[in-house]
């Protein structure tokens, strides 16, 4: 049985039995972002060092767990969980809402100017860890600056294995810099619904994305990222650490599967450029 049978098991794992891993986090984005935008911190310099989604266009690729927020080697058959999150923004630009994600798969260098062209995505690599796609979300992040107002749909396979076409999505009306999630700002109708792309009807997850079609040009290039959200938390104030001891605060210890590439996205009240977020994450793994 994964996880911890009781609080004592967790406390003992961490305090006396050494079943814990700690990661240092220090991120200082360089790209400007708009107020209220969602930003992909995996692309920010620092610790862990930046990810640029730099691989062959359109081909689904996975990220190495050793290049994300470090949570240690595989522990199977034990299970590993987030135990403590402690982060502090150095200035107001990095306050706001943070999400810890398991980045599962990405499709790089999607042309956001290719109007009318069905850009077929390669799924030679299957989605890892959440193989049925249940709970898997997607976001589209700029890997080259956009010009804004693009419109697109994408074809995907849902958590039941059914082929679907997404609702119409509109990019932010204004240009966004690298590392900003292109749909996350209100601009026109069909935009500003948060960081993740909307799915059709009652779909609850994505198993793969098969193509993306632009119906209006948005400029730039994007990486479409499949991810599994693990937890969300708030950084309230510059210079004030937010500490979450999850067993006490939320009673939920998100599971981190072996091989997970962990990183964060954030929504901040002003540009993230040049502002630092510092802290650590601690992970605990079970006795058996």
């Amino acid at each position: 049985m994964p996880g911890f049978r009781n609080v004592r098991k967790l406390a003992v794992s961490v305090s006396t039995e050494g079943r814990t891993r700690t990661s240092t986090i220090r991120k200082t984005p360089v790209q400007a972002s708009a107020a209220g935008a969602w930003v992909d911190l995996s692309m920010a310099p620092g610790i862990p060092y930046p990810n640029y989604y730099a691989s062959e266009p359109y081909i689904g690729s996975v990220l190495s767990p050793w290049r994300g927020i470090l949570h240690g080697d595989a522990v199977a058959p034990k299970s590993k969980h987030v135990h403590v999150v402690s982060l502090m923004p150095s200035a107001a630009g990095m306050t706001g809402t943070y999400m810890l994600l398991d980045y599962l798969l990405y499709y790089p260098f999607i042309d956001l100017d290719a109007v009318g062209e069905t850009q077929v995505l390669d799924n030679g690599v299957a989605i890892p860890r959440y193989v049925d796609g249940e709970g898997v979300q997607a976001f589209l992040v700029a890997v080259a600056p956009t010009t804004g107002a693009g419109i697109f749909t994408f074809d995907y396979v849902n958590q039941l294995g059914q082929p679907r076409t997404s609702p119409v999505h509109t990019m932010a009306a204004s240009a966004v810099s690298i590392a900003s999630i292109v749909t996350a700002l209100p601009g026109n109708v069909n935009s500003g619904y948060g960081p993740f792309l909307r799915l059709l009807g009652s779909d609850t997850g994505i198993r793969s994305v098969t193509s993306l079609t632009m119906s209006a040009a948005g400029g730039g290039l994007g990486a479409l990222v499949l991810c599994r959200p693990l937890m969300a938390f708030q950084l309230f104030e510059a210079g004030t650490p937010t500490e979450c001891v999850l067993i006490q605060d939320s009673k939920i210890l998100p599971r981190v599967y072996d091989g997970a590439y962990l990183n964060m996205i954030c929504q901040t009240p002003s540009s993230v450029a040049g502002v630092t977020v510092l802290g650590r994450m601690e992970f605990a793994f079970s006795e058996d």
Binding site: V14, G18, W66, R67, L70
Partner: protein, 390 residues
């Protein structure tokens, strides 16, 4: 034994006086580069600066509260062996501040420094296998008690176990912990507990046993549970930045031939000179192949009993006259210092895990992580509240 309840903590502190507060202050040097961890016991201040003495490269030098590194008391004193019935010492609260023109915010990590393996000369610059010295062959005799004679200069307070091809000297048993009381660079008496070692109460001589006796180091934290490893610079190399692709350690379960991870790209990379100055953890930086304060352990390993070997045989080999220590530490707690001159406190009674245990003889030291480039000569000040039960 710990504490049976919050009432017990209050009673032990207020009625029985089982409480202690200790302060420390270290001065950073040289200017730090951003995004790196530093082990502060090699810096000036209080406790005194350690020069990580060792007459033999790659041998384990145990560090303890009472004997330090064998030359200097480098750890924060925390009251010695607590009195009582099976007492255990715990941390109630930590406080810290950093006063620096630059470098904020900081993260401080309190660790118990178990000891270190010193690397110098070709052990820093070479590409061959480095084999660590964790054992010694001992010959028993009588001199003031059961006297052991061996090859390497082991520190007082080194925790050991004995094995033999024949019969151990009377007074020693297999699978039992003992503590050395150094008499010279090649001899020591033996105590049955750390407290006895401090008191000079040693095992009397009865006989020398038979066969060949071997002594193996042990971690203060039982079986090395929770113990981590890190390379710390004492003197920066001239140039280079090797990779560590091969290593071997014994985990807390006693399984050897474990490897620090990853063993495929992206390998662990040691920093170049600019990030390998004194006190720096040389595999911590904002770059590929740097994995933070500690070398990642294999699979679900819960600790390190000893490091057996490693190789720096890829990347760019270090040159010059650098000196590095491979340190074994047990992390105890963390605290964030958000800005210069701001005193931050952490109450360790009311969170999980709570009341971190301080093992008898623990050598307490701070590690510092700076978001920015911490100015040289910046004081790092701390205070720790201890209590013990039993």
């Amino acid at each position: 034994m710990g504490f049976t309840s919050l009432d017990d903590i209050i009673n032990q502190i207020s009625v029985n006086g089982k409480y202690l507060r200790r302060e420390s202050q270290k001065s950073t040097a040289p200017v730090h580069t951003a995004g790196g961890w530093h082990l502060l016991c090699g810096l000036n201040g209080y406790p005194n600066q350690s020069t990580y003495p060792s007459t033999t490269d790659l041998m384990f030098k145990a560090c303890t509260e009472n004997w330090g590194d064998g030359t200097t008391i480098l750890g924060m004193l925390h009251g010695g062996v607590p009195a009582g019935t099976a007492p255990t010492k715990h941390i109630l609260n930590v406080g810290a501040s950093v006063v620096a023109a630059a470098g904020a915010p900081w993260q401080l990590k309190l660790v118990d420094l178990e000891g270190y393996y010193k690397l110098s000369g070709a052990n820093v610059t070479g590409t061959s296998l480095r084999t660590c010295i964790n054992t010694d062959t001992v010959v028993a005799s009588s001199s003031g008690g059961l006297l052991l004679t061996y090859t390497y200069d082991w520190n007082s307070g080194t925790k050991v176990r004995f094995t033999t091809s024949g019969t151990l000297p009377t007074g020693l048993s297999l699978l039992t912990d003992y503590w050395l009381v150094r008499q010279s660079s090649s001899t020591a008496l033996v105590a049955t507990s750390y407290a006895n070692a401090v008191a000079g109460t040693v095992v009397p001589w009865t006989d020398n046993g038979s066969g060949t006796h071997t002594m193996t180091i042990q971690m203060r934290n039982p079986s090395g549970t929770g113990v981590e490893a890190c390379f710390v610079s004492q003197t920066l190399p001239t140039a280079g930045g090797p990779e560590m692709r091969t290593s071997a350690y014994t985990n807390s379960g006693g399984t050897g031939t474990r490897s620090f991870q990853p063993t495929a790209s992206p390998y662990i990379v040691m920093n170049a000179t600019a990030d390998a100055y004194a006190a720096r953890v040389i595999h911590s930086a904002a770059a590929a192949g740097r994995y933070g304060a500690f070398l990642p352990k294999q699979a679900a390993d819960a600790g390190i009993q000893k490091v057996d070997s490693f190789t720096w045989n890829n990347g760019t080999a270090y040159t010059g006259t650098g000196v590095i220590e491979l340190c074994l530490v047990k992390p105890l707690c963390d605290i964030i210092v958000p800005a210069t001159g701001v005193w931050t406190e952490r109450d360790l009674v009311n969170q999980l895990p709570s009341l971190p245990k301080v093992e008898t003889g623990a050598c307490l030291a701070w590690m510092l992580f700076g978001a920015g480039a911490t100015t040289t000569g910046s004081p790092v000040i701390s205070a720790i509240d201890f209590a013990w039960g039993g």
